[in-house]
Subunit: 378 residues, 2 copies
């Protein structure tokens, strides 16, 4: 390896923080750009710039002089990244892939173009159009084209009385899928085109907050579905011609169809268990991919569950973690706090990874732990 | 857990760096004291103080106002730590244990006092005394009482012609043991007195540099010896009445006796593989112990080897790592660089962890990898 690599990370949240934890093993000099002066990455980065990640010039100024630039969030200035790429800076994921992924409309068209199975959809420009399409398409899910994240920008339209919730902006109207399971596959692709896939995980959602409640890895699905999901994940990252990590979220329908829901071109919430349960973590894998190093072994050595630690409903203020000591008394329970000073209702404040030799023991531990730790304000 | 813990680490080298990597999961605010402005911890700590770790007042000034103070090196001002402890700051390992361990003479007397098996020894005050004792004690090992580390401060006296190498200072003269294997056990002890032991590892030394060449975990020793080593490690940490990690280095003699060589009250080179091969790493275990959290599961999930990356002989200057990409092409090979800008002959610049399903495959990989990465200056 040549001298120290100067790596820029756009976005300074928990994904960036865990990337830094891994990058520290490779003597990488870390530069972070985020609009929040209190971002989790701030105290850990070599250089931290406060600035608007959606600002073209801000991104350009940040990236100039770095060797590699990556992102831990999609809502960034793609034009800024394009400029940096033209100047010879390595930008992974590449701007062309980010442009597609940033806009759910382009993402769906990309799936259609490459015969990648996904829920039937139609593009809509405004609320009026959705109302006109209602009879044919309901029950449906309406997803805003740009700017949605963490469940925001998505509404379920079960019947005509829900239509007022539809977005009055460019969006995608999708046939609602009868979901048997939600699974996720994280695939990595190196600069040389080599790919590597982590074992699929299954997510269990908290319907109230529309956020992952807990995750089981590996997912309890047939080998046929595993192979299909892996193949699709590799196909998508190859067709996107992208370097880095891509998290592919699937719906497994009640009729047994595997449909791509959406993708994220970065480390992902559904890969946090890899830190403790796989030989190579998703964060190390991303670093290896974007720095031109050989990809690591993604094998999972122990069954795992991951529970998000969300800010308790009704609390806002300086975070306190109740029940930590008790939770850690359970064998093979690991806590990862994100270093966010302020908790808010439903904010991702950390996660717990639980390991167990088999699924039964895992389920028992999850039941014990699900509400063991409360993130409150005092 | 109450609000953020402010943790002081005295010493800013690679052990401190890997402690920080782990502490980041617990929202711990890290303060580091080291005399070297270029110490590996500097860019990663929340607060970095440049100062003499052996200076009593420097240590006091550093520790005031912190919640917990720990060390990643033994050569620090114990008097400074004692003062902090009296002021109510939690100091782990405790000063009374550090005082014994810092001085190899006190350490040996401690073993004798508690009937802990160790090589026969006699205390010597100067070179003249060693010469007088030669006939009875040679072949012997002469260890300086204070200030030795990483093989420095130790000379082997095989015959009378070696006697000029003996230390002309307070030291220990030990009967030379016919060593079949060197093994190491890392034990952790919590504030509540709970203990937990990592599986024993075997070290293979580089005789030229007197530094560990590579390490195999778990060690290939009988269950009886494992039980004996674990029991002794627990006994020592309990008799020292110490909180934190204690690495206990043993000689297994050709006649089958297990003898304590020496101990280190902190994370240790012989525990680096735990990051990748055990459910809980030695660094996380130390953090849990000294922060009053329940200890983690130390079980090793996969056989491992650890190879130190030492600065190549004859090179001094800005470090370059040759062969990294090639080494990482081997399955389940992981690199941990310490972020030291300058390489020197024999300096610990990083380590490689190799995982394999069985010992045979592990040995094959070690043979391939041993000289794969060279740390040179350009």
């Amino acid at each position: 390896m040549k001298g120290t690599i100067r790596l820029g990370i756009i976005g300074g949240g928990q994904l960036g923080k865990m990337l830094i934890q891994s990058a520290m093993d490779f003597n990488i000099e870390i530069h972070v750009l985020d609009g929040d002066a209190q971002a989790p990455c701030r105290p850990l980065a070599h250089h931290f710039t406060i600035g608007n990640i959606e600002g073209e010039q801000t991104v350009i100024d940040f990236g100039q002089g770095l060797d590699v630039v990556t992102v831990e969030i999609e809502r960034i200035s793609v034009r800024g990244l394009e400029y940096l790429q033209q100047k010879g800076i390595k930008v992974y994921p590449q701007p062309h892939a980010l442009r597609i992924i940033q806009d759910k409309r382009l993402q769906k068209q990309f799936y259609a173009e490459y015969q990648i199975p996904t829920a039937d959809f139609v593009l809509t420009e405004n609320k009026e159009e959705v109302k006109k399409l209602a009879q044919k398409w309901l029950p449906a899910v309406h997803k805003i084209g740009k700017g949605g994240y963490d469940g925001k920008g998505v509404v379920v339209l079960n019947s005509e009385k829900d239509l007022e919730k539809a977005f009055d902006a460019p969006a995608v109207l999708e046939k609602k899928v009868n979901i048997a399971q939600e699974i996720s596959v994280i695939v990595a692709r190196g600069i040389d085109g080599q790919t590597s896939v982590f074992p699929p995980v299954a997510s269990v959602f908290n319907p109230e907050l529309n956020l992952v409640d807990y995750l089981i890895a590996p997912a309890d699905i047939s080998e046929k579905i595993v192979a299909e999901a892996n193949e699709l994940a590799v196909k998508i990252i190859e067709k996107l011609d992208m370097v880095g990590l891509l998290a592919v979220e699937f719906f497994l329908s009640e009729s047994g169809d595997l449909l791509v829901n959406e993708v994220a071109p970065r480390p992902h919430n559904s890969g946090h268990h890899t830190i403790k349960a796989c030989y190579t973590s998703q964060f190390e894998q991303h670093i290896r991919a974007i720095c031109g190093l050989p990809l690591g072994n993604p094998t999972q050595h122990t069954p795992a569950a991951m529970i998000n630690l969300l800010g308790e409903k009704g609390y806002e203020g300086v975070a306190h973690y109740e029940g930590m000591e008790k939770a850690l008394q359970t064998d093979s329970v690991f806590v990862h706090l994100y270093g966010k000073a302020i908790t808010k209702s439903g904010r991702k404040m950390g996660h717990i990874t639980v390991l167990a030799p088999d699924k039964n023991e895992l389920m028992q531990k999850i039941t014990q732990l699900k509400d063991a730790i409360k993130v409150v304000a005092k």
